[in-house]
Assembly symmetry: C2
Homo-oligomer: 453 residues x 2
């Protein structure tokens, strides 16, 4: 119900926009677009085919241009940047926060980067360079160097006066960081404490030093995990000497979590999470060809197994009819195990100490499923073809393939992870290759042994 | 690299814990466990097989018990609750926030619920009942009724004095809500403004009324979307008369986003996101059988198509060898389109206005891929079997199946969504059924027409 409401809302916007665009009345389009937040505008632009996208992009309030660029996928971003002249681009990005600017900078033309750097004061330029010196997908790249720090040997009163002088705080400031003279992090003080405590309270008494700061080298994934494990709104980033370098805020973490989920969902199909729904046909074709080519190679591997048994098939054509069932069911069962194991690995729940327990559990589940489904499948085959040896062969082959699927479902992702690959990306292809090959081999092999004698 | 660090950290904890458990030294286990946050303890418990899980659960500081229960999946939670006696349970849950309690309540035994309700004051009991009156997965269920409200006709000074009297604020309070006498929401004031503005400033001057409150009936998905579209830390929840009912905080939203991602990843394999990695074999088998049974039925559908062409296969066995390639490649290509469309639907990016553009794009991509892969496949088949008509048949069949896959990849999820089903759950099965059937039909059908004459 409420789900429908949401869907309706975006669909309505899209329809209104589309109607207005078709009729050429750009005034209403501009008004509609500029009631949206930058993230919503980004989403809207992503949902428009290239021609309309260019028109709407031209109508976005230039003040929002930079934020919108931050909120769209890489591929759409490239197209939007290509539609802007250098002056527009410079105006759009020069007021962005350092972390957002760092996110955009490699998509910008060199001349624009040069101009933007020139327009910054030295402190900000150095901060940007520092942020850019860290790996993409590291805490250093996600952090914003703009933090509010206070000293421990002062009082709430003094801090409040300092804040009133400052007049503005960085977005999502929920803590002030307490540092020593060497800018090393001692602890943090919640904004909430400042407004609820007596103004004479020394800061010392309010410090929560029971905080784990984020290492500047931590991965984006680790950052996301720490935030959800500790329900943080923001967290300080420090280097190996505990010197405070910046802070990461939850809004960026939410983006990371969303991107990780998309990366996993699209990656399993060999796509990039930055793929544009409306990317140019030539580009989309080229990108998908690689993935389909890999799959074609694995399909030949499975076909070559079938080829070995051509003589058997020629004698019993029913085998050709039934063999996709055995292979396919193995793939389905293996995919279930794979999904469970990939989640376990992502949450760090699987290690040397419990792997054997898991394998033993999955093998028993597969054996029981093999008995149940094998009986059903064998029964149907017996009714269909009236040959009980064939029924026995397919039931046995199914059980063997379900057992292989269980083993592969656990071992393929665990091995990929150990070798440093992302199990969510390559796991599916390898698993179904195993289950196809094992399915054809066990079914046609058993049939050759049992039925041809 | 940093990824490895994270993995190492959890793996190290697991290993340490496992060693300590094996040696029976429970003191170190207790110390290790109680340095962790409730979410981390939850994750650790989920990664332990049932026997060890029970032991470690007994060592968790009783003060954390409630929070840990909130942080584990339903299936693991059931097991943990079964290990506790009623008094322990009551002690564990009675100090939880209303929203967390509401989340747990249906997993608790009736006697415990009764005792907990009895121990609450009337106000809290009414609040809990109100929260429970809303749909699971709605904003009403996610909200915490504990909010700080102020009046517009006062000053920063007065509000600060009020907050100092209150001495404590609900977690993650970043805004105070401004309401009128009827408790209708007028706007909000950032805590940041209170500490940066002059204390004589009237609250009126600080109100940001440009906020969209969340409807109490909004879905969890919609709530998550609004939070990431607006970079909110917390947001007010109102009823249809704009009366303030509670607030939702970002930490719960992060959990929703994680759960949605797991729901999608596991749901595509017919699993529930609450599935325990170490669930009992009988339960796991039963749950998976349903899904595998559905897949068995669709596999028979595809097999029955092959059965129609038994006579053709008997004459040309190469067809049996090659037919899984055509079917499988269609499945792979269709899965790519499906993944892209499911994301588009989830983001509300696909509607009547751009569906045709997308279909037309995907058809062209499929045609180009058909030419490229068909040529490759045809070439290999020609080399392998030395029959150019067979090569031509398989190239054509592949192209036909890729086109079907493109159409099904778009239309299957769009249709499921329109009918009110979750495309991420059922989309894959339906899609591969279409590509299997079309793959066998086009390849064996063309072969019968072309090669047998």
């Amino acid at each position: 119900m409420a789900e429908a409401v949401r869907h309706d809302k975006t669909a309505r916007q899209l329809r209104l926009l589309s109607d207005a665009l078709d009729s050429g009345r750009l005034g209403p389009v501009r008004r509609l677009v500029n009631t949206l937040s930058p993230a919503e505008i980004g989403n809207l632009l992503e949902s428009l085919p290239p021609g309309k996208r260019t028109i709407v992009w031209g109508l976005v309030d230039p003040e929002d241009d930079g934020e919108v660029l931050v909120h769209v996928g890489d591929e759409v971003r490239e197209g939007l940047i290509a539609d802007m002249d250098p002056d527009e681009l410079i105006a759009a990005v020069e007021d962005l926060d350092i972390d957002d600017l760092a996110d955009l900078v490699e998509d910008l033309p060199d001349t624009v980067i040069h101009e933007v750097l020139k327009s910054m004061d030295r402190e900000n330029r150095e901060r940007l360079e520092q942020v850019l010196s860290y790996d993409e997908d590291s805490a250093g790249r996600l952090m914003n160097p703009d933090v509010v720090t206070v000293r421990a040997d002062t009082t709430v009163d003094v801090v409040l006066r300092y804040l009133r002088l400052r007049a503005e705080l960085p977005d999502h400031t929920d803590h002030l960081y307490v540092v020593n003279r060497r800018h090393q992090l001692i602890g943090w003080v919640a904004l909430q404490s400042l407004v609820t405590c007596d103004t004479h309270t020394p800061i010392n008494a309010l410090i929560d030093s029971d905080l784990s700061a984020i290492s500047v080298e931590a991965s984006a994934e680790q950052v996301a995990r720490e935030f959800s494990d500790h329900d943080w709104i923001s967290a300080p980033v420090v280097d190996e000497n505990n010197i405070l370098l910046g802070r990461i805020t939850i809004d960026d973490v939410v983006d990371i979590i969303r991107e990780q989920a998309e990366h996993q969902a699209l990656g399993a199909a060999g796509l990039d999470e930055d793929e544009d729904l409306f990317s140019p046909v030539a580009r989309a074709t080229r990108r998908r060809l690689l993935w389909l080519g890999i799959n074609l190679a694995t399909a030949f591997l499975a076909a070559s197994v079938v080829g070995r048994f051509a003589a058997t098939i020629q004698q019993i054509v029913a085998l050709a009819v039934l063999m996709p069932i055995v292979a396919g069911m193995g793939g389905n069962a293996g995919t279930q195990v794979l999904a469970l194991v990939i989640r376990g690995l992502a949450l760090g729940q699987l290690g040397a100490t419990n792997l054997n327990v898991l394998i033993w559990k999955e093998v028993r589940v597969a054996a029981l499923n093999g008995i149940a489904l094998g009986t059903a499948l064998g029964g149907i085959v017996w009714l269909w073809f009236g040959q009980w040896p064939l029924a026995l062969v397919i039931a046995s082959a199914l059980t063997i393939n379900l057992l292989s699927a269980a083993l592969a479902g656990v071992m393929v992702p665990v091995t990929l992870k150990r070798l440093g690959f992302d199990p969510a990306l390559a796991g599916g292809v390898i698993l179904t290759t195993v289950t196809d090959v094992m399915g054809f081999l066990s079914f046609l092999g058993l049939a050759t042994l049992v039925l041809l004698h």
